[in-house]
Amino acid sequence: MINNADKSYITQKYHDPKKEFNPHRRFIRRDEIFDSTSGMDPDAIIAGIWEQDALCKDLPHPVRKAKAFAYVLKNTRISCDKRDIFPAINMIDRPLNRTVIAAWKKEVFGEIIPEVEKKRAYMLSNGIATIRPDYDHSVPVWERLLNLGFTGLLQESELARSQRTVLTPEQTAFFDGIKITYSAILDFTHRLEQQAKTDGNLRMAEALRHISEQPPESFYEALLVDYLYFMLCEHIEGMQVRSLSNFDRLFYKFYKSDLEKGVSEAQIRSDLAYFFLQFTAIGNYWNQPVYLGGCKEDESTQINALSYLFLDVYDKLRIYSPKIQIKIADSTPKDFVLKALDMIRRGNNSIVLVNDATIRKALEKAGATRSQARLCDIKGCYEYAVQGAIVSEMNYVNLLKPLEYALHRGCDGITGNFAGRKSPDAATYQSFEAFFAEYKKQLGFLIDQVIDTVNAFEDYLSYVNPQSMLSATSAACVSRGKDILAGGAEQNITVMEFGFMADIADSLTMIKKYVFDKKMLTLAQLRDILDGDFEGNERLRRIFLADRDKFGNNKPLPDALAKEIAEFVCGKVWGRPNAKVRNGTWDLGFHVARQSYEQAPHTASSPNGRLRGEELSKNMSASMGMNREGATAAILSVTKIDATAFAGDATLDMGLLPSAVKGEEGLEAMYGLLMTFIKRGGHAMHINVFDADTLRAAQKEPEKYQDLQIRVCGWNVLFNNISKEEQDGFIRQAEALI
């Protein structure tokens, strides 16, 4: 499939193995592998961008950015080494993000809306909400890109421009941006072709020549288009590409036609292996998502021979990026699902299982047609959207903060600063219902603040970072002559992600039981104990921890509270208008990304026994170490929440013991768990198969467990590469498994 020399070259293509690798650093590149005659020095390119832009100050941003993009493509060093079938590009350290985009961002947040930035920064530094302009979650309309190619997209945009009798200055800028950008891509593809010839890589040269003139025809050419789009859009244009398409659906025609033309399956496997390794090599911590599966128009399965081949190749490489999401429907063949589950139990836990029916229903509720919903694409760790939609979602709200406010008359539980709404003293609540009502008021107040703040800066998304590459793939943008971030998209959605559902449901459960039902202590006493981080009150903390009424265990009280909170936030957020320029609506989800760690230090200790700063619960899973009733109970709990009520994620992170999934029975049991989750309407599930002993051993002797991977929260990492604190969290989680 791939020989070791080639594999070694590719995996070192972007990183020097001798230097420490930090997957969280986005601005990386590796200079040494490039011939200096193939382009300019990277620092000179950055200087050149500034010089060129200084001469274009009067031009609109889409044009200025496109010119900067073209400048980078014209001058970056390149390599088409024979050990690889995909070209290497030197300037992948996001040069536009560091130049023009950074300048416009500074202008907007520093000069135009400084008061919004102040609010945003306050929420961030106090762990209230982590919100930022989202240039991280885009998905091109792969179908159009692969059918039309770079040339076709350019022609179509020019045709749309020519058909308009009147063009506004914004529309002219929009079409100019696309023209400059795509012309630059075509020139660049020619340049790569020449380089491939120089480097003696004739197969690559021929394919590059082809895709610079017409849409891709072969499987390899389609991979090249996918790869180049990804590299240029994410690493140079400055918009992350969060999918490689619904791969088996879109690449099957290339695969089939190649086989008919006599290309061997071994060749296709090999090409796919080289393709996968590009993403492994880039090594971004968030991993690169790709969809498999789903349904055809007649609801028969989308799984085909390529889907199986895809899993086979992936399995052999033992990698975790790209990360695979499989849309599971009633028609999905059982043997395919078992194949994926078997990979998961052998440690390929980057595979996520997604409920096709649930995501389609949620999208249809949000206005998608049946067909749009069916053809939706993955656009993040678990998030999904119709093709051509733009969904910004980096708005992570801490569900525990409103609890701090409700306990402290509107003040933060750590800083004491007034940040919520004014409310009565904790001592005055006569019933749990009254206190819960206040919690919801505080939460509603926080939601309003977040919406106001996000709407204010989302008006400027396209001003800061106009999208020529992405917009051109959307038929809606091209026909409207409008940037995808400025309302041009098919759907314009902003998502609010609510974090730590289990922690809040468990905390409220403890308040109801111990303060209002058992009257073991007063709410004011509890508040003071939390303020003291349980110091001197370890016994009480242990009572809270030992109490089995915890979300994720199919217990009526915490589950009912979680459901009520989910319905409350859905009612408060879903369908609200987002930024004027975008002219879309708000939706929501329960994805936490890294916030379990990042907001934790700013979150006061909570009534479920969690100490100040301790890790917070992930996605829709039980709080840390609290899934004591096992896998079935976890599924029953999470599926009480209607995941079709919002087009965001409600993912369950499932831990299973190796002993529970061994043998044929174990595999069938995994299948039974998954299909029950699907039948009950859950959204997505990912599975970590581990036991505490193995994790402890890996912590002690990392050298012996170099390939042990863990799914964190939407992405995978090697266990050795996470902090001791995070490792301890997984060990606690594994210890609780039954």
Binding site: A546, A669, G672, T676
Partner: protein, 267 residues
């Protein structure tokens, strides 16, 4: 209302019969297998175990009226809870969706569940009324009468055979295997579905495998034969229960298990 003494309930049990199951562990067993991995199931009386590694020194256990539930470190565990069918049934039905999807159900195990045969019959009948697949995991050392009571409501018997030679069986378990072998022949003659399970313990019954295979060849309704490799994970339970640890030292090798399976497992 009949009552039974239960030591534990395990959900998502995947090796106790077909599909995803909930297993109810009954307390008390007539055998004393040297390798028993559920020592909490041997005594017919409730036992308060103490897992020392979990103790946080909260001192609750020194107070009057202490029960295991009061232990804040969850170090004290009560094995042996008196329960009724009415109390038990709702928790066994919680995972009904999983049983349906996976072809699973409920398994009664132990200890030896059929030592509390009347209760088992009542529980199994209630489960059948709910349309749940039922399995009875038995050592077979039980009165014929107890078997009779549960036969109408049991879909499959998971039946342990440890040895054919009586002296070996006595050495392993403290009891003769005469009744055990008679009972399985009887169940087989009735056409009941049986899955035979053979714990493989190198120090005790390695030489019995061929004999077991021969014995099983005469039976007609054995649907599956499973070899259960002996493991010694139960050591901490013996300590927690303050019981003499009789666990053998030698673990079976993969090769031995494969060899035993080749002799026993039917295609």
């Amino acid at each position: 209302m009949k009552t039974a003494l239960i030591s534990d309930i395990k959900r998502f049990a995947v090796h106790d019969g077909p599909g995803i199951r909930t297993t109810v562990f009954f307390k008390g067993c007539p055998l004393k297998c040297r390798w028993c991995h559920n020592p909490e199931g041997i005594s017919f009386k409730p036992q308060l175990a103490f897992y020392e590694n979990k103790c946080i020194g909260c001192g609750e256990c020194k107070k009057d009226g202490f029960t295991a539930q009061d232990c804040l470190g969850e170090a004290r565990v009560l094995y042996g809870k008196e329960t009724t069918v009415e109390e038990l049934l709702p928790s066994l039905l919680e995972d009904k969706d999983f049983y349906e999807t996976s072809g699973g159900g409920v398994t009664l195990s132990g200890g030896e569940c059929l030592c509390q045969g009347d209760f088992c019959a009542e529980l199994l009948q209630a489960l059948k009324n709910e349309g749940i697949h039922t399995a009875v995991d038995t050592c077979g050392f039980v009165a014929r009468d107890a078997l009779h009571k549960v036969i109408p409501y049991t879909d499959i018997f998971l039946y342990d055979i440890k040895a054919i030679d009586e002296d070996v069986h006595i050495k392993c378990t403290g009891q003769s295997n005469k009744i055990i072998l008679e009972n399985i022949r009887y169940l087989d003659s009735l056409g009941k579905a049986i899955e035979v399970r053979i714990p493989y313990v190198p120090e005790y019954n390695a030489d019995q495998i061929e004999k077991i295979a021969e014995f099983l060849r005469a039976l007609k309704n054995v649907q599956a034969v499973k070899v259960l490799p002996y493991h010694n994970y139960a050591g901490s339970k013996y300590a927690a229960l303050d019981m003499e640890n009789t666990l053998p030292k030698i673990l079976p090798t993969e090769e031995e298990i494969k060899k035993a399976e080749a002799l026993l497992v039917r295609p």
